[in-house]
């Protein structure tokens, strides 16, 4: 038996911690386990992947998981930028944080079993917030245990209670709520996924030119949306200089490119005139 799980989330949501907690749970139940995060740009809000392997035999694989049995999606927005279904085994599972019901899923219906849970709602209800952002990893683990995985919820809760100190109680509560309220839909089928053809890479000198968009449309990372108040702005260009995404344009005045602004609010912090304010971002289309 070798079960592999892939977690998709965004930096700050706790995907890496989730995969490690899962490995610990398996280990305490006598299985061999491994938790392998993949690190790219270590930035808050950036897409994050982590893998867990669970087996009844020693695990020698040291490569990433390409054909998981279970995919856990911590953030519904991530589906817009990452192919979360890539390589999932037919008859496998998708465990998603969503307000949708399993029947409303657009992808995966024909060949995957579905667990749907509103982990964000559960996190907010149980006050699992870090810097205002809901941390959904523990409730997602609760929902994951509804999939085909031989792990016991009490062992997981015991570990969380032990490791999380005074935060333990509410996390344990979130786990059992998610386990209880998750909706499961079993499906049998044989859909096949097609993979896009890879492009050939050619690198001779490590040269890059100033450009926006190397990480895709980073607007989806945005939890907060900066707004420039032009009555206060004195065109000092501080924001333009400091924006890490080059998302501030120089037209007749400084203008934020909301396709690429990732909402880090560096611009607001460096503005001497306090001309940049922010409010919570809500995307209508996701």
């Amino acid at each position: 038996m070798l079960i592999s799980i892939r977690f998709h989330g965004r930096g700050g949501q706790g995907a890496v911690t989730a995969s490690k907690l899962l490995a610990q749970t398996a280990s305490e139940m006598g299985y061999y386990s491994q938790s392998m995060p993949f690190f790219g740009a270590e930035r808050r809000g950036a897409p994050v992947i982590s893998f867990t392997r669970i087996s009844d035999e020693p695990i020698y694989e040291m490569s990433q998981v390409y054909h998981p049995n279970i995919v856990v999606v911590l953030d519904p927005v991530i589906m817009k930028v990452v192919d979360v279904f890539r390589g999932v085994k037919e008859g496998g599972w998708i465990v998603a944080n969503t307000t949708k019901k399993p029947d409303e899923f657009v992808f995966g219906q024909e060949y995957l079993n579905i667990v749907a849970v509103d982990a964000t709602g559960i996190a907010i209800k149980n006050d699992l917030l870090v810097a205002g952002m809901p941390v959904v990893n523990t409730p997602m683990l609760g929902a994951l245990l509804r999939a085909d995985i031989p792990l016991n919820i009490e062992v997981l809760e015991g570990i969380v209670a032990r490791k999380f100190g005074k935060e333990g109680k509410k996390n344990v509560k979130a786990i059992s709520e998610a386990y209880e309220f998750a909706e499961v839909k079993l499906i049998h089928g044989s859909g096949k996924r097609r993979y896009p053809k890879k492009q050939k890479i050619k690198v001779e000198f490590p040269i890059s030119t100033p450009a926006e968009g190397v990480a895709g449309k980073t607007k989806l990372w945005r939890d907060f949306r900066p707004e420039i108040n032009y009555d206060k702005c004195n065109d000092c260009l501080n924001c333009w200089l400091h924006c890490p995404e080059s998302a501030i344009r120089l037209n007749d005045r400084v203008e934020i490119d909301y396709d690429y602004c990732k909402g880090c609010l560096v611009c607001a912090a460096v503005c001497p005139k306090k001309a940049i304010t922010s409010e919570r971002e809500v995307f209508a289309d996701v």
Binding site: A23, S35, M36, P37, F38, Y60, E61, M62
Partner: protein
């Protein structure tokens, strides 16, 4: 039973330093080795680890501080990676010629530019002439055990050499797996230096040395490497008697005896190669594996005995531009009497390209030397 924890490679290295009773740690952070130092600083702060933690302004200073600590008679430890290791280069030579048995964790990472934070053994392999012993690990338990065993060897009076314990960045440094947290009190006693810096009895160390004496010193370094190699089995045995774990120091062989095609490699991909060997055997390919653990000293004799009449595929996760894979080059020299066409080089996993069992399977049947894609 010992305590089993799910730890990353970096956390493992920190715990190994603590349980090896390290007394001085001087380090400077660099990805992907930073969590080693972070974990140690927490352990020191909480009083669990009785060591002096020295914050320094660079890796060069980190190694200088370790040399000072070791010369004053303390067991010293540090951790680094990539550019940090390159920056230490001068001091690495110093540590060897000063015969200070420092142990250093190296989370292997590529060297830029072309900024790349991922696994590549090129950083430590390019330090192969500094006189340090070098061990390569393929899982976290091995990192843990090797750090203690490296001190045991390094501090042996017939050896007195510093040692690097290397493990692939991210692939091991950030991957968590079960580790038995043994205490090493019975295995490692307090470090007793042959001589130590002492303000009461002042003397100079590392002053001018005329040619003949310098040659003598260098010859002694070489002889110490030879002796270290000879002592390795003894250290493995003693470790096994105490803790029941067989942790090879020189190499691990897997299904080599009847094998026709033998994969030779080291580091984390050496673990993946085991999966590949099993998979190949299911397809009736008589494959085997030699996973090298110790690159310095280079176990020429042992490799020769195992590999002399085999068809060999050497998988390097590093490149010495203008020459080839470092392991391939050394193995070729060690097997000088073997027909050259039986030794095939492969360059894989450069800059962190993921190496899967299928990478090995394909590489055995394709003619390409470089594999620059993930074969999933």
């Amino acid at each position: 039973m010992y305590e089993v924890e799910i730890l990353t490679g970096n956390e493992t290295a920190a715990y190994a330093a603590m349980n090896s009773n390290v007394r001085v740690v001087a380090a400077y952070p660099i990805t992907p080795a930073t969590p080693v130092v972070e974990t140690i600083s927490k352990l020191v702060e909480s009083g669990k680890m009785l060591a002096k933690f020295i914050r320094v302004e660079s890796e060069h200073s980190a190694m200088a501080a370790c040399i000072g600590a070791s010369a004053a008679g303390s067991r010293a430890f540090t951790a680094t990676s990539s550019h940090g290791l390159a920056y230490m280069h001068e001091m690495l030579h110093w540590a060897t010629n000063a015969r200070t048995p420092i142990v250093m964790a190296v989370a292997n990472r590529a060297i830029g530019p072309g900024w790349n934070i991922w696994a590549d053994l090129g950083d430590s392999l390019s330090q192969r002439d500094t006189g340090w012993m070098q061990f390569y690990c393929s899982n976290n338990q091995e990192i843990y055990d090797t750090i203690a065993m490296a001190y045991k060897l390094a501090e042996n009076r017939k050896v007195l050499l510093p040692a690097m314990v290397c493990y692939d960045g991210f692939v091991l440094s950030h991957t968590a797996m079960p580790v038995e947290l043994t205490e090493f009190g019975d295995f490692l006693h307090e470090y007793e230096p042959v001589w130590k810096l002492d303000a009461e009895k002042p003397f100079t160390h590392g002053n001018i040395l005329p040619p003949e004496e310098f040659a003598e010193l260098r010859h002694n370094v070489q002889k110490s490497h030879d002796r270290a190699l000879k002592l390795m089995h003894k250290v493995e045995e003693e470790f096994y008697e105490l803790y029941g774990r067989r942790t090879p120091l020189i190499l691990e062989e897997y299904k080599v005896e009847d094998a026709e095609k033998v994969i030779v490699t080291m580091g984390a991909i050496g673990s993946e190669a085991k999966v590949a060997v099993d998979s190949l055997r299911e397809k009736r390919v008589k494959a085997g594996l030699v996973r090298l653990r110790c690159f310095r000293p280079f176990p020429e004799k042992q490799l020769k005995e195992l590999l002399e009449d085999k068809k060999i595929y050497v998988f390097d996760r590093a490149i010495s531009p203008g020459s080839g894979g470092p392991l391939y080059q050394e193995l070729k020299a060690a097997l000088a009497s073997t027909p050259i066409k039986r030794i095939t080089p492969r360059i894989v996993g450069i800059g962190g390209i993921d190496v899967t069992k299928r990478t090995f399977e394909r590489a055995l049947f394709e003619r390409k030397i470089w594999i620059k894609e993930v074969i999933s």
